[in-house]
Amino acid sequence: MTDMTVSGSAPEATQMPEKRVWRDIGIKRRYAAERRFKAYGLGAVLVGLVCLGMLLVSVVSKGYTAFLQTSIQLDITFDKKVIDPQGQAATNDRVLLMANYPVLATRALAKVLGVDESDRKLRRDLSGMISNGVRTQLRDMVLADPSIIGKTRSVWVLAAADVDSAYKGQIDLSVDQARRKVDDQQVAWMNKLAGEGILKGRFNTGIFVNGASSRPETAGMGVAMIGSMYMMAIVLVLALPIGVAASIYLEEFAPKNRWTDLIEVNINNLAAVPSIVFGLLGLAVFINFMHLPRSASLVGGLVLTLMTLPTIIIATRAALKAVPPSIRAAALGIGASKMQMVFHHVLPLAAPGILTGTIIGLAQALGETAPLLLIGMVAFVADYPATPMDPATALPVQIYMWANEAERAFVERTSGAIIILLMFLAVMNITAIILRRRFERRW
């Protein structure tokens, strides 16, 4: 019907111009206004979509390279003269820990490149090619199997962050070499090694498993992922039962009075309280008053639980409301108690809706940063947390910390971390959508 007003009157107006003139005053103007209005609307939608696109393109274009890490394949000779010159390894276990492993890598690199490493400048350039993380890498190899001392092994070692950036084309090589972090000599070596296939980008497992590091090439978000996992588990275990119980009470049992009205206003308001306020609550109550450890995933989980509760309660109540009253009446009619009616009939029928709401609440909690900053999750944690009481970080907090790092290579890391976080969120939200499509019932 609405379509006819537009399409029906226009041809008429052209057919009988003389007669219609007095009635058509302003019709052109009005239609122009109509078209303008429509264009504004379309423009607004497009601006929104463009913003989304720019955001994603910006993150992905900066971050996809983070999943490849430049490595160099070296035949490293575990020279006994370097590792254990005095032959004390059997008696003093610090020898193997403290040995000068980077020299082994530098030597191997010098051999490949055919460079005389007695030249000081060249030696510095050489060691600048290889990440300092090689120290722990080779040390762990030796500690795991001391019999390799004296033998030669082919090892992929990480290139230094600046070489990595240069190899990925993120450093402008036309700038004078004094003003960039890799000099021409290193670039030449890099190109030579790349040509031989010894230096190349390999899939970066480090970003998934490593802990915090001040060197971008060995920094990873393993600790953050474990911390986030602990927190999500705590939120799920606490917020889901409490939220469902609260909604059942409010929706099915609560009398309509001031008290329940107060609870209702409260829940709606809590859903809109700035997240940072929950951080202050966590700091004052859980850390200052209850003396729980700072930086622990437990505290983070508790704070996020309080934040997620309103979301879960609102979703659960909507799901309970959607169950038709006839189900309730039928259950009561055949003699079920009210509690049986709720737990045997209404709750199972509302379960898909509750589940969807819970997943969306969890996804929100996973991306939340501000409250975690206040309870000390901004921490340099290199070791995996064994329990939720140990210091840990979280995915978004790790992103925040990397975003504050000055080094160029951390921008790439940060974007890579954001991609990982967004992947998690996408998976959770898509699961929620699929669950809703699959199980949603319309009465």
Binding site: L52, N269, A272, I276, A284, L309, A403
Partner: protein, 495 residues
Amino acid sequence: MSTTTILSIVLVLAVVAYVLGRATAKRRAAASGIKLHSREGYYGSFALLWTIVPSLILLAVWLVVSPLVVDEAVRESFPEHVKAETAATQSLAMGMVESVARGLRRLDETEMTRVKMGFSALRPVLASKGVALAGDGEDYMVDAAIRLNAWNDASRLWMTICVLGLALAGLAYAQWRIRPEVRARNSVERAVLIALISASAIAILTTIGIVLSMLSETISFFRSVPPLEFFFGTVWDPRFAATVGTTSSDGQFGLIPLLAGTVYIALVAMLFAVPIGLFAATYLAEYAGSKFRAVAKPLIEVLAGIPTIVYGFFALVTVGPFLRDLSADIAGIATGNATGFIQAQSVLTAGIVMGIMLIPFVSSLSDDIITAVPRAMRDGSLGLGATRSETMRKVILPAALPGIVGALLLTASRAIGETMIVVLAAGVAARLTINPFEPMTTVTVKIVNQLTGDLEFNSPQTLVAFALGLTLFFITLGLNIYALYIVRKYREQYE
């Protein structure tokens, strides 16, 4: 016994109680020939509840109260000259005693006898066990630590006995109570109802917790900085808590520059988000074909699902530098001097990026409200010959106006409380300016700044964060309640 062990024993007892309760109910019913009042599972649950609820409540209370009591008792046992000291010194001494006590746990018999000689003998022994003690202690601390350990052990022993005893007593009592005529279902359902009520009370407790915890810290902040100076001060310069015991007068804590920055950035964000969001909502509700709508609406809502830290990073590395370079180009063309007049961290950067984040809030809230306007009003207007845009502007929007205002207030409260974008994009300089191209700072940025890093609780530099948080809480609370009130009132008009 550790708490986990006690818990698992109680849980095992609970299972036993459930099985026994069911069996007892069946047996007694068969013996007496009376039909069971409830289904047999309810008798099991009845016994189970009697077993775990009292004992777990006792356990929880004990775990909370016992450390307080022991702590108090140990402090009581300090020598007189320590008790004469200030509360802070006593807390310090208590902390020392606690770490000594933790260290003593690692020692064996012979080492214990050596340790009794005094603090000077203790230190090397503990150091050899990997327990480093901060600072020097006095001899009485060793005794106090030994007492602390002994009392804690005693408390734990009695706790184990009492909790397990209570669980067994509850089990026995339930067994004795179970008869066919006992209304087990009613008791169990009453217990479940109480659990449901307490779950919904948590929402209230959270709010109370927020207000009380922040209020107490704020009050102690106002003890060192007068409220007038805080609320009406125009200079924010808190300094650092350089030395322990620094007094208030070192820093200036003026709220005005922070509040101005917060409002200014929120205003820019709203100016960006509101027209786009409203137009997008009307287009999607009125003009878009169903296919376009099915694609565009969820895509715009994706913007709401992206974590704010991602927006912050986007502002930091993309939008900020882009605006700076753009302004440099403009300045280069206009004046020949290519220095940018927009700084990378600025009100404009933060405002625009926050505006992007707010678009989906505005659009989906307004969409709900626009579609809630009764069909008859729209049809009536169109039937009179109005175009769609006229219907929208002159009929639907006025009818939806209160709801939309409510939605905008909710959006504004979100803009004011937003943290991560402004932390990364707005800058940290607290100043009063009306130039949107310069950095300003917000309340939330300062809360984060004051509370990350090493904290010394009790210094006004830290406590001010709670005063800021409380202010923020009440501002957003006011906006939210007013918005909810408007939205509710409006809904009632058409229902």
